[in-house]
């Protein structure tokens, strides 16, 4: 076991796959010589050279076009979109082209590519560099959507995403880049579409994603010590495919569901999870689903305002303890 940061795990995951497969190429803005704007790709240019690790112009549509064209003809590109907000600039290629290509070709072509992007708030970057947009991707049929919360998951899920024959949107939560965690030595390949139960409790099931996972765990400890409420915490890790088996099993066990997401309120992924649980587990529920989200506002820049916007451990504790007897 080595201790790696979340950002180091990104580079490790990419390097592991580039070493074993010449068809993996990596494209993006500032990923090579600069080592990534979040320093998550340091060392890749040196190891793999400028043919495989390509600094691109600031042209998100051209980046994803290059990725799509090359995925259709046998390469396995990884494209970085520096901030997930910028997906709006190239959403045509994501939603109209990449996501639909397999279907529109009647299954003739697959789209083995990964779009990595820095997602989410907590860094005081304001409304155009802090959004949590994994729900945008979740809404589009034909995309897989992954958002890891730990360095080990970053490496293992990124490797799995690169090997996957389908297009994978890989959302790295940017405030997690400095966090450290144990990562198993040697080749690491995880499985997409599998949630992880990180804490076991009988009273309530909290489903969280990415940066909301450590907050949910922290909240669970406080709920236990201060309120006598024992929470199960599920790290969804992937929205598409969604591990509904684990969600339903863990929700049926406690009879209560809490979703914690960074998405703005309307049509955040928690609404979908709540809907699935209401459909499938209605008679197992002991009370209403609790959705904890950011309010339906653009994310503000100021410390106090941003902190008040994103779900915190304190807010999770407050909402859960008030609504659960």
């Amino acid at each position: 076991m080595a201790e790696l940061t979340y950002r180091e795990a990104v580079a490790e995951g990419i390097a592991q796959e580039m070493r074993r497969d010449e068809d993996v190429v990596f494209l993006g803005e500032d990923i090579g010589a600069a080592g990534g704007v979040f320093k998550a790709t340091v060392g890749l240019l040196k190891e793999f050279g400028p043919v495989r690790v390509r600094d691109t112009p600031i042209s998100e549509q051209a980046i994803l076009g290059a990725a799509m064209g090359s995925a259709m003809t046998g390469l396995k590109p990884i494209a970085e979109i520096m901030f997930s907000d910028f997906l709006a600039v190239c959403w045509d290629i994501v939603a109209n082209e990449i996501a639909k290509a397999r279907y529109m070709t009647g299954g003739q072509m697959s789209m083995p590519l990964v779009i990595r992007t820095a997602n989410g708030g907590g860094s005081r970057f304001g409304a155009q560099h802090s959004q949590s947009v994994e729900n945008w991707a979740m809404m589009v049929p034909g995309l897989k959507v992954v958002a890891p919360s730990t360095p080990a998951d970053v490496k293992g899920l990124l490797a799995a995403a690169i090997r996957d024959p389908d297009p994978v949107m890989f959302f790295e939560q940017k405030s997690l880049y400095p966090i450290k965690g144990e990562v198993p030595d040697g080749e690491l390949v995880d499985e997409l579409g599998t949630a992880k139960v990180l804490r076991d409790g009988d009273d309530v099931t909290i489903c969280a994603l990415a940066a909301m996972v450590p907050r949910a765990i922290q909240a669970a400890e406080i709920l236990s010590s201060e309120h006598g409420i024992e929470a199960t915490v599920v790290d969804l890790r992937s929205l598409v495919p969604l591990d509904t088996k684990t969600i339903l099993r863990e929700t049926a066990k406690t009879g209560r569901l809490v979703t914690v997401e960074e998405n703005p309120r309307l049509c955040g992924w928690g609404a979908e999870v709540a809907s699935i649980v209401a459909d499938e587990n209605f008679w197992d529920l002991d009370g209403p689903v609790i959705r904890i989200t950011t309010p339906h506002i653009p994310l503000p820049a100021a410390d106090e305002l941003e902190d008040a916007t994103m779900p915190s451990a304190d807010r999770i504790v407050r909402e859960v303890s008030e609504k659960i007897d």
């Binding site: 549509q61 003809t73 009647g106």
Partner: protein, 346 residues
């Protein structure tokens, strides 16, 4: 055709190497007949598609290529099986020129399981991996970064392949086209951007939509050589295509060909094309039709008689009739097809 009568070009270094129009090519009889029959196949196929649309056998959108046949046929003559092709939604002609089976194309138009995309793509979204035809894209301009990506992969893999990336005059005003131009020249990618200037982006003429009038010069700031070509003359197209393909194969980066062409029908089947005069259309059909003009060249040169050309037309019509029958007989896709091909692994 005023625009095409003075072909212009812009070179990477020598900017004023004006090329001469040459209808009197040294192309041999076999080649001429092959162009003739390939263009005629597209013409007859599209005429039949238009009829079937009118009969309600084809629904949705249907953008006919009638009038523009010389462009794809001339371009296709210059490439081989290393090369990839991608275009927009006016794509039936491109697919036939790529050698895709007319039956599979027509059956996709009628929404049948025998269509290239099993009925899930429709007129605008068809592909053939086998023939290296990468669509068939419904969003104006989107195929341009994708075609650039095809060239990126060809260069990365060292296949010597070239990407033929077609776009219309309307697409040149899309931002992603210029992103792609920049990347292609920056990385010396083997891509030929074939701008099919049929004078109208939907119902708006190029003059009213584009501040830049010489579309072949749009790559100039990036250093991409460009050339304006009489796209109504298959032999001229072929000559320009050879030059552009050579440029790409030699590793010199992208190339732009602006094909001055004309679509006889409306933008789509629902467009009566009232934004242009009947006289304009008639003039193009009568004076500049690529098929009629080539047939004159063939007959005048004594390569074939008019009767022999009629025999070719008969054969082409038979192929199209067979395609039309297949497209009506092929079963409709089963409801279970709804859920296949969304992902490889769900």
């Amino acid at each position: 055709m005023a625009e095409a009568s003075k072909p212009k070009s812009v070179g990477k270094k020598s900017k004023t190497s004006t090329r001469k129009r040459s209808s009197k090519s040294s192309a041999d009889a076999v080649q001429l007949i092959s162009y003739y029959s390939d263009m005629l196949l597209i013409r007859r196929f599209e005429e039949r598609a238009g009829q079937m649309y009118g009969m309600g056998l084809i629904g949705g959108f249907c953008h006919l290529y009638i009038g523009q046949e010389a462009v794809v046929v001339g371009m296709q003559g210059a490439i081989d099986d290393r090369d990839a092709v991608v275009t927009s939604y006016r794509d039936h002609g491109h697919m036939l020129a790529c050698g895709m089976d007319p039956k599979g194309v027509m059956a996709e138009l009628t929404g049948r399981i025998g269509g290239y995309s099993k009925g899930k793509g429709g007129s605008m979204h068809m592909f053939s991996k086998e023939k290296k035809f990468y669509g068939g894209h419904g969003i104006v301009g989107a195929q341009v970064p994708i075609g650039t990506g095809l060239a990126f992969a060809a260069k990365y893999k060292g296949t010597d392949g070239v990407s033929l990336t077609y776009l219309g005059d309307g697409a040149v005003n899309q931002g992603q086209v210029h992103e792609a131009f920049n990347m292609a020249e920056l990385w010396d990618l083997p891509v030929i951007y074939v701008i099919e200037n049929n004078r109208y982006g939907m119902g708006t003429s190029v003059d009213r939509a584009s501040a830049a009038k010489d579309l072949y010069r749009l790559g100039e700031p990036f250093g991409i050589p460009g050339e304006q070509v009489d796209g109504m003359d298959v032999l001229t197209v072929r000559k320009a295509a050879d030059k552009a393909v050579k440029h790409c194969r030699e590793g010199k980066g992208p190339y732009i060909l602006e094909m001055m062409t004309y679509r006889y029908r409306g933008h789509s089947m629902s467009d009566p094309a009232k934004y242009r005069t009947k006289e304009e259309v008639a003039e193009m059909r009568e004076q500049h039709d690529p098929i009629t003009n080539l047939s004159k060249i063939i007959v005048d040169a004594g390569k074939k008689s008019e009767e022999e050309l009629k025999e070719i037309d008969k054969k082409v019509r038979a192929i199209v009739s067979e395609a039309a029958e297949f497209a009506q007989e092929s079963p409709e896709p089963a409801p279970s097809e709804l859920y296949t091909d969304v992902l490889v692994e769900a």
